[in-house]
Symmetry: C2
Subunit: 628 residues, 2 copies
């Protein structure tokens, strides 16, 4: 079948709501401020509502046409601020899509296709002298709708959580250890404003991405995850890219980076942005390199600047900028085990060496800030010198760059430009905390955004696991967003299943961090699932899990019958004997007696004894094994 049909088929799959789930909304202070949540209805009548990144795609009522894009929820908010202007925008060039000058025919076709693209529209920018960043508003004491949206979203529905956790955890042991984070009991819009004003959180939301459902990245908010997608001349189509996006946010990607290269990247980006409810990040140097035929030393500030404006006009929410790869640092990588492994970093290193000049990105950093604040593009200051192996972790090259990123953070903040800092990479467990400490020390609490880190080098094919270990730890220590790693890392291109595996592994890491930090309510979902498990509500256990489909499929491999979904046993212990059942018997007994359970246990022994004997005829039919 042709590409559109194929896409339609894939989308029909990814648009299916999760089992027993429906979209609900938290109503904000204005009618057009509605924060989506996923409500899971349990078989005992309870409702659990969960943070939802999947956008309108999981709402059956909404008609989706990827050629028209998603509704622009933020447009009224932008209009009301009255500090932006719509303008013609930069003239699109065939080169933006990778067409070569000599390639006349391709250029003509590109142009035709682009002219026809319904998604094209004139961009906005800040009016002369205006600064339209969320940080700028925050510092002027303005609480934007984006900030209120984030506050509602971070809290979720606290009502059901209290049923499990109470207003505060019963015991100290369950309160978590925030490791220096200052997480409030309730996130208020004012708290969000203050965090953004301090630079401790960012809300990536380009004024040319009105489709975005605002979210925050910061140490005092829920830990977020990023998934990378990207086209490939040889392996995928533009339409497949949009489907990859929808697939990624279905499984919980809070942000997506479009790392496309080669042909059609400009158009690919248009389609992704117009159809994305989550912030989109890019690495502009990749496209700039395309424009100079892949010859790093031919890069110029003019070409790079033009690319930043091109992407800012399209609505990219954050740029990875490798401004810390400075000429004086490059020789520090010479005796590394694996040198420079960041593509952006190596591009700039090649440029610096070939010209024996300081990085033009570093030298033009304030010029870049001027572009960022005209569109509210956030900085993701890239770690171009991150370690590519355990042997290179925490070395001078890495930390010299980190200190520079700290200096640049203050420059960006001088312009009220939102900023986060990228981190490694490959780091053994004993060196992970030092990464967080150094980042906090030198980068003034700007959000940290790490790739993994991978705790060992010998797990190709399983690097999503080797890195989930490091990601969970650094997330607990204070990292605000975790960039996922798929099983294909170091080996090849992630396919649809690899993307899902990477995302689920990182949802585990991020949630483990939220629970350890003691984020209010984070553990409520665990309690709800464990309660369902204990009460043999199998469907509820599946439906509350990160991947209900897989949980149910695995269970059904051994016990396919629907009856077993309500049976008070599982395949591990068999029907006649179950450890959880015994505890329930103890508890029921205590309840009958109407006295404290502890007393009942003592007083009731004799009676209990005879009860058990009556059941003595049971024959224990074990079906399988369980640990200890």
């Amino acid at each position: 079948m042709n590409a559109p049909d194929k896409l339609a088929t894939l989308l029909s799959l990814t648009r299916e709501p999760f089992p027993a789930s429906r979209k609900s909304y938290l109503q904000g202070s204005r009618s057009d401020l509605r924060v989506p949540m996923r409500e899971v209805t349990l078989t005992n009548g309870e409702t659990v509502s969960l943070y939802d990144t999947s956008g309108p795609y999981t709402e059956p009522g909404v008609a989706i046409d990827v050629r028209r894009g998603l509704p622009s929820v933020r447009t009224p908010w932008l209009d009301e601020r009255a500090d932006t202007e719509v303008y013609a925008g930069r003239l699109h060039q065939a080169l933006d899509d990778g067409a070569k000058h000599e390639d006349r025919e391709a250029e003509r076709i590109e142009q035709l296709r682009l002219d026809a693209a319904a998604l094209q529209r004139p961009p906005r920018r800040a009016r002369a002298g205006a600064n339209v960043t969320q940080m700028h508003y925050a510092r002027r004491g303005i609480v934007t709708p984006e900030m209120e949206y984030v506050a509602l979203r971070e809290n979720g529905k606290r009502e059901w959580m209290r049923e499990y956790l109470g207003d505060a955890p019963r015991e100290q042991r369950l309160r978590g250890n925030p490791m220096g984070a200052q997480i409030p009991a309730i996130v208020t819009p004012e708290f969000v404003r203050d965090e953004v004003a301090r630079g401790r959180a960012i809300i990536p939301a380009n004024i040319n991405h009105p489709e975005v459902e605002p979210m925050a990245i910061g140490r005092n908010f829920l830990v977020k995850i990023n998934a990378n997608i990207g086209n490939s001349a040889v392996t995928s189509s533009i339409e497949e890219e949009v489907e990859k996006l929808v697939w990624a946010i279905r499984w919980g990607a809070d942000n997506v980076m479009d790392l496309s290269t080669g042909r059609n990247i400009h158009t690919t980006r248009d389609w992704i942005l117009r159809n994305s409810p989550v912030p989109i990040g890019t690495v502009p140097i990749y496209q700039a390199l395309e424009k100079v035929g892949g010859v790093a030393e031919d890069l110029t500030w003019a070409i790079f600047r033009d690319t930043l404006i091109e992407q800012a006009e399209q609505g990219v929410d954050y740029f990875t900028i490798h401004a810390g790869v400075r000429l004086p640092f490059i020789h520090l990588t010479a005796d590394r085990r694996t040198g420079i492994v960041s593509r952006g970093g190596s591009i700039m290193a090649k440029w610096c060496i070939s010209h024996h000049r300081e990085s033009f990105i570093y030298e033009h950093f304030e010029d870049i800030c001027d572009i960022m604040k005209a569109y509210d593009v956030s900085f993701s200051l890239g770690d171009g010198l991150r370690p590519g192996s355990a042997a290179d972790a925490n070395d001078e090259a890495q930390f010299a760059e980190l200190r520079t990123l700290g200096e640049l953070t203050q420059v960006a903040w001088k312009h009220d430009v939102q900023t986060m800092i990228e981190g490694p990479g490959h780091v053994p467990m004993h060196m992970i905390q030092a990464n967080m400490d150094e980042q906090l020390k030198h980068c003034h609490e700007a959000p940290f955004y790490t790739l993994g880190p991978l705790t060992i080098d010998i797990a190709p094919g399983y690097d999503h696991i080797a890195s989930a270990i490091g990601a969970a730890m650094i997330g607990w220590f204070g990292t605000a967003m975790l960039c996922y790693v798929t099983p294909k890392e170091h080996l090849g291109l992630p396919d649809r299943e690899d993307v899902k595996q990477g995302i689920v592994a990182y949802k585990i890491a991020a949630h483990a961090a939220d629970v350890a930090k003691g984020h209010p309510g984070a553990r409520a979902r665990d309690d709800a699932l464990s309660k369902a498990r204990f009460e043999f509500r199998w469907m509820d256990q599946f439906n509350l899990s990160l991947d209900p489909d897989t949980a149910r499929d695995f269970h059904d491999e051994t016990l396919p019958k629907d009856a077993s979904k309500v049976a008070h046993f599982c395949s591990m212990c068999g029907p006649k004997f179950c450890s959880m059942k015994i505890t329930q018997e103890v508890r029921d007994y205590a309840a009958q007696r109407g006295v404290s359970e502890a007393q009942a246990l003592g007083a009731g022994m004799a009676e209990k004894s005879s009860q058990f004997r009556q059941a003595g005829g049971e024959i224990y039919i074990p079906l399988a094994v369980d640990k200890g």
Copy 2:
């Protein structure tokens, strides 16, 4: 095809040596002391030798007949000690294999099959008054062949490791943080003896398991992993059990627990033990429960004792004994979120409640010690009250039991019985270290052996990942052995692929812990693989990884051609541009100049510049995407 044929087919798969690998041996002080290693030959001529748990199965020359079992490497050592006697052994009963008394025909058939079993042989036990535990020898200053074997095995071939690491890591940052462990530069037989004498390590090696290749479990040795296997009346055959064992040790299981239940468990255990080069553990209460028809309250000391002797005679190397589930602790579980989730723990809880009496296992603990020391069966003191959910982690029920296990450890040591302590379970990250600290404090540095722990409850289908995070952390903190969790945990029976997934996840966790602890040489394999990666030696990268098959398959999905196995690029960056290649250019350039790389970088810039320009015609053909 019939079972034997099926087994033969499966075995032929699992007997295939790993790619570019051959079995080699470290020769000990006596001709019959030869420690197996796996030698991987790299394409650059280097040889890397790795710890090998796979036994004779991966040596093509060795003829294997599962009906005859493996060679008894330890028999001469046992004979020389001259402190054991061969005796008739306990009379086998049909009930041992789960045949019911009323089931005459089944009983007859069982008996016939058992009489015919070539694997049956008279057991050994300590001569009257003798104590044959490794701890007993160690405390008398005797270095046994088992101890020397362990020393050679723990060191591995240090020669090749030095090529990467030098005698000591260049920099402090790479030396690891042992978190209180005292890991020597070289493990001597005397060090092993001392660790065993102190009780800080155990060598599980029943005198009736002469086929075992000795290994150590202790905080100052490499972190080990355990895989659980077990039959199931409905899902597998005895022969499949043996194949499961071979499959588990192929992927790196250091120990295997046979958690079989139901029919044929006695015979299954015989076959597993006679064919296992790794220590085998069991939970004897499971079989004892079979013998009383699954009615926990009908258990008696006589039945339990008889089962311990039955299994000790077969050669089981360690018993999980839930002696810490005491009557006074049971009520502490009543208001838990998930009560008692350990099967052994709940069996004993049911017994205590129904009789309103103290646990017969606790009361007869010293009688059990007498059995253990007559066969050198090690204790694995079970945590029957471990938490089954994050909400129950580190509660009083758990820690009350842990303190009791500490008391019992000293009782066991009074009898020179080797002992390790089992740990949880479900524990959020911020509570993991407290588990290790409490265990060290109350259990006198007896080896800790934990199940995970799982850091969150919401990942059914992915609990091998949710628990690998906790396992890696607690392994770093000092846990000696990690019991694996498979993707099927909480949902169903692990199949062949689940077992592999669980083992690889736990090899990652254990290796991450070894690297973080700074175990000498642990990081050498990472360096060798990263060097291969950096030098585009693809086959070496695959062959040094934990799962060469998967690494190669993933790579080949994108670049199947054999040519690309030596190509200086990968699918992530494409043929004309590679970040690692650039670093190599920088390094080569510096080398040519014959001056320090740092100087060369400065001095050589201008020249480098022109060189790069010559290559300017290159067109960058990107094939895919990579993170920033």
